[in-house]
Symmetry: C2
Subunit: 312 residues, 2 copies
């Protein structure tokens, strides 16, 4: 197969666009499209400081690299979750992120959940007798990502979610017809509180195959294993079935997402119009919550300590 | 496994309800639930004459049997499509329907597409150089079902669509986020014109496994093969992937459908509120259409004949 633009040997055939591209033109298109998505969805401007949540995987490191390359004011945020299972997942990820930081000279803040809270994510899950580690993990990640961005004065957090991630989430929300999620899902989640950064997903329209190829062609060294706890996750099942449909009908994933965004705009509220529950600030840590004490302070038992030794 | 009601040997375990039932209590529940759905969705009353579209398969014959058993004024409508491929699909189906009619003494009207139009469904598809026989077939089936119901004074047509059919269609409509379909899909499609019967699906909440078991336990002899043209149909693929999800999360299919109906009621228009395009009557056959000449009269070339030899 040959590149449609220059006729050189193609490195990828994007079946959803019926487009074959060589190395050079794939990278050019990938970067151009990312910048277009950032502008079109008003994700951020070159004047804003942007936090990029990095896991050590291809998507987030590729995103941090691309944004830095194109002159955006970016810094990475890596959360060390303390997952030691199978090949020491968290340490491996951390090493990749540190090597990336040193190699490209891009600042990355490393936040250790164990240092912050006294326990790793799996230890917290065990203490709460929570079989689904992902639930506790999601809560802690959301909290420390927001807190770090707030403390560093970052108004935007960009994540490396790709089209496969987005459509898997969308399928899950759709199978439950969960209006409160469907109304909000999209490449931009506006800030619901002055202390919470806006969330943006510049890679939301690229398949995993594309983001992986971009990282590979840029020579980025990333973690290739998935989190050991994601093994039985529904999102993996949804990705699998969507890929089965994609094979038969190329373009289904992209159409599913793009048509959803149109449907949301025309028939559901736009994200801007969504009424968020009024958030107040946690009595203990000050981060936004809809209860008196936020979920993480409650997890850590700080509400009990605070009750026993009340402030004067 | 034992029947939850009487403790006898169970014949089925309904994972979506976590309910095991013996032969007697499965049939009792199946019939009771069908009657409940008919009442709840105001499908029809015992005072109305109901046409049941029968294909010769388990769903439609089971439905016709059940409705007749419970005293509804039913008559079957069978369309002989003239599909001769693989085991002579249409003849086999017709034989099963005729045997059913003779055995239970339930009236069934048999309409032959070839006799009505001069060509079988595959012949029409070939003439139109239409690779997808299903498109021409759907058009002809819709037309002759409506026409037969109208001529016989039937205000309601019941079809045997089961939950698997419904969720496969729903997934297809959702992957395209097709608002015009999503707003209408459901167990009842109100009549959009006085000459068009209301469409109802009393089995819409039963899985294919349940409708098959009902037909088997009633000793109904039905066609087990699928239409040879449905081989590559998207609906098959969608059924397959939904079953993959169902295995991991029992109840997904039923929830997907029920939550959709709630979402439709709350966030999209209700079927009653849907504005149908204003239908007029075909200049040639008088059946409703949104053009001057209906699709079937055009397929048959009757518009050209009519133009050449205008009525006085």
């Amino acid at each position: 197969m040959k590149c449609r633009i220059c006729g050189k040997k193609a490195v990828i055939h994007l079946r959803q666009h019926n487009l074959a591209l060589c190395r050079e033109h794939f990278v050019e298109r990938f970067e151009r499209e990312t910048l277009r998505v950032i502008r079109r969805y008003r994700m951020f401007t070159p004047e804003e400081r942007v936090g990029v949540a990095v896991s050590g995987g291809k998507d987030s490191l590729g995103l941090l690299y691309l944004l830095h390359k194109h002159g955006f004011q970016v810094e990475g945020i890596f959360l060390d979750l303390g997952i030691r299972r199978e090949f020491d997942y968290s340490s491996l990820s951390r090493q990749k992120v540190e090597a990336f930081r040193d190699r490209y000279g891009i600042p990355v803040h490393i936040v250790s959940i164990a240092e912050e809270t006294g326990k790793t994510v799996p230890e917290w899950a065990r203490q709460r007798r929570e079989r689904r580690v992902c639930r506790v993990c999601g809560m802690l990640k959301r909290y420390y990502l927001n807190k770090t961005a707030y403390e560093r004065g970052l108004g935007v957090i960009a994540t490396g979610h790709n089209l496969d991630d987005e459509v898997a989430t969308l399928l899950g929300n759709t199978l439950r017809w969960d209006h409160s999620y469907l109304v909000k899902q999209g490449p931009v989640l506006p800030s619901p509180h002055p202390k919470l950064a806006r969330r943006v997903k510049p890679f939301a329209f690229f398949t995993e195959k594309e983001t992986a190829l971009y990282a590979i062609l840029q020579g980025i060294d990333y973690v290739e294993v998935n989190c050991p706890f994601s093994e039985g996750a529904k999102s993996r099942l949804y990705k699998h079935v969507l890929n089965e449909i994609e094979v038969v009908s190329p373009g289904t994933k992209l159409r599913f997402y793009q048509e959803f965004l149109r449907f949301q705009r025309e028939h559901l509220a736009t994200p801007q119009e969504v009424q968020y529950a009024t958030l107040r600030e946690c009595r203990i840590c000050g981060m936004p919550t809809n209860l008196e004490v936020c979920a993480v302070c409650r997890l850590r038992g700080l509400d009990k300590v605070a009750t026993e030794t009340p402030n004067p």
